[in-house]
């Protein structure tokens, strides 16, 4: 029998890692908010870029990895690959949603509107829709093997659409006059400090992704183990003379 409580407690190495990540996040925020220069055009609003762009990049990595883990599951059939896939999928949805909100927060003061059909932001919105579909499909299938396979397929098809969606959104946009300020920071003349701060923030966002992933995967593994235990209990023959309550 599995001691779920013990397996869910965070071991020392994990707590240390999460502690370090928290400290680095505070440092990255300090650099972004205080120890970095204002921008020539955007002023202090450039500080939003550090929070927004770093999270955006991690969102795409997370979704890509969902497809990779899904493909691994299709190939090897090991439950742990499916646990990795759904964890990364949650991360993808989470970071993509955060990117959208951050994008709107960035867009309103700089471009005077909450939404532009900026290629990267449009792509992120499409990605949210794709990941929502992924989770709806997972919710509709009870058998863990079939669920893992079908959702892996959905993730791969979704990830494959991203380059095409990006190109379509980008080309669609270039027919209209582009705004002078791009929301991905590319229109900004970034000096060395800014780039360094952005990269630092991105690395920290990646560490947060990893930390959340480890937490989520540990939870997922216990869920999977308990699910298998339950399945075995149901198929065991009833002891003679005793009633068995089917859970």
């Amino acid at each position: 029998m599995i001691d779920a409580a013990a397996r869910l407690r965070r071991p020392l190495w994990l707590r240390t890692y999460l502690g370090i990540t928290l400290l680095l996040f505070l440092a990255a925020a300090a650099f972004g908010l205080v120890f970095s220069p204002r921008d020539v055009t955007q002023g202090d609003l450039i500080r939003i870029m550090y929070a927004h762009v770093s999270v955006a990049w991690i969102a795409f990595v997370a979704v890509g990895l969902t497809a990779v883990f899904g493909a691994l599951y299709l190939w090897r059939g090991q439950r742990r690959d499916d646990v990795l896939a759904v964890a990364s999928g949650e991360m993808g949805l989470f970071f993509a949603g955060l990117t959208i909100i951050g994008g709107m927060t960035y867009s309103r003061p700089t471009l005077n509107t909450f939404w532009t059909w900026d290629a990267k932001l449009t792509l992120t919105a499409i990605m949210v829709a794709l990941m929502v579909g992924y989770f709806i499909v997972r919710g509709l299938i009870d058998d863990p093997v079939r669920r893992g396979r079908v959702s892996a397929v959905v993730a791969i098809v979704a990830a494959a659409s991203l380059p095409f969606n990006y190109l379509a959104a980008e080309w669609f946009r270039t027919l209209h006059p582009a705004k002078s300020v791009a929301l991905d920071g590319s229109g900004v003349t970034m000096d060395g400090t800014m780039l360094a701060v952005l990269l630092f923030n991105t690395v920290v966002a990646g560490m947060i992704y990893l930390g959340f992933m480890i937490d989520r995967v540990r939870l997922g593994r216990v869920e999977a183990a308990l699910e298998e235990e339950r399945a075995q209990a149901v198929t065991q023959p009833a002891p003679v003379g005793k009633e068995v309550v089917r859970v």
């Binding site: 990605m127 829709a129 579909g133 396979r149 079908v150 098809v157 190109l167």
Partner: protein, 233 residues
């Protein structure tokens, strides 16, 4: 029966089923008429908007038709247990997918070719072309655009229709899964068609057409490779 025969047999079976029941034809003709009519009404006051909206309306109609057609193609088999029989056959799953894909693509392309002059007439859009570009060439590329666009759409529609065929909430799930994936096709197809119809701009059309063809190639491979994980008894 080898694989190619199986594919063609399935395509033929689906087309015959449709010829007999006409379920898809009736639904798609109805939806197309409604779409074109409503959008014409919406743009009506402004002739410029009408001309520019013609291809958009056409592709909206085709998109609806594609979803209905793909969903119906699996439902018909599911109802009589024919799908299980089909899957029990010793042919690769991909052959079943390919057969249905061909049938659906065929239907959608025919619908597209029929709707094209209708949309053109209704919206006052004409096949453009300055002096140098022969209208025949523009029309040919336009027809190729329709074929490439409907292929991309059918690739995803038939694939996801198969996936959702035995899930609950399949009617609402199919568009939810499909549309984020087919956005590039719809965008590219509308833009390419617009470029051809408005000014006969072959260069611009070609840029978008490349996206369509690229999409078709990538997803033909992806869907054929992954289909066997999608339908399991």
């Amino acid at each position: 029966m080898n694989d190619l025969h199986a594919v063609l047999w399935i395509a033929r079976k689906d087309l015959l089923q449709e010829a007999r029941s006409k379920a898809v034809t009736v639904a798609t003709v109805f939806f197309s008429a409604v779409t074109l009519g409503v959008l014409a009404f919406a743009f009506g006051e402004n002739p410029l908007l009408m001309r520019e909206g013609a291809m958009g309306a056409l592709w909206v109609a085709l998109a609806f038709a594609g979803v209905i057609s793909a969903a119906q193609s699996w439902q018909a088999d599911l109802e009589d247990g024919a799908l299980e029989a089909l899957l029990a056959w010793p042919v690769p799953r991909a052959a079943v997918y390919l057969g249905k894909l061909l049938a659906n693509w065929g239907l959608m392309t025919v619908l597209g070719f029929v709707l094209l002059p209708l949309a053109g007439g209704l919206y006052g859009a004409d096949v453009g072309g300055g002096g140098e570009v022969p209208a025949a060439l523009v029309v040919a590329v336009l027809l190729a655009t329709i074929a490439a666009g409907t292929l991309g759409f059918a690739l995803i529609a038939v694939f996801y229709a198969g996936l959702t065929a035995n899930l609950r909430a399949r009617e609402s799930l199919l568009p939810v899964l499909m549309f984020p994936v087919v956005v590039p096709i719809l965008l590219a197809a509308v833009r390419a068609s617009n470029a051809l119809v408005g000014s006969g701009d072959l260069d611009l059309a070609w840029a978008w057409l490349r996206l369509l063809v690229g999409f078709d190639l990538v997803y033909a491979v992806v869907c054929l490779a992954l289909f066997r994980f999608v339908v399991e008894a």
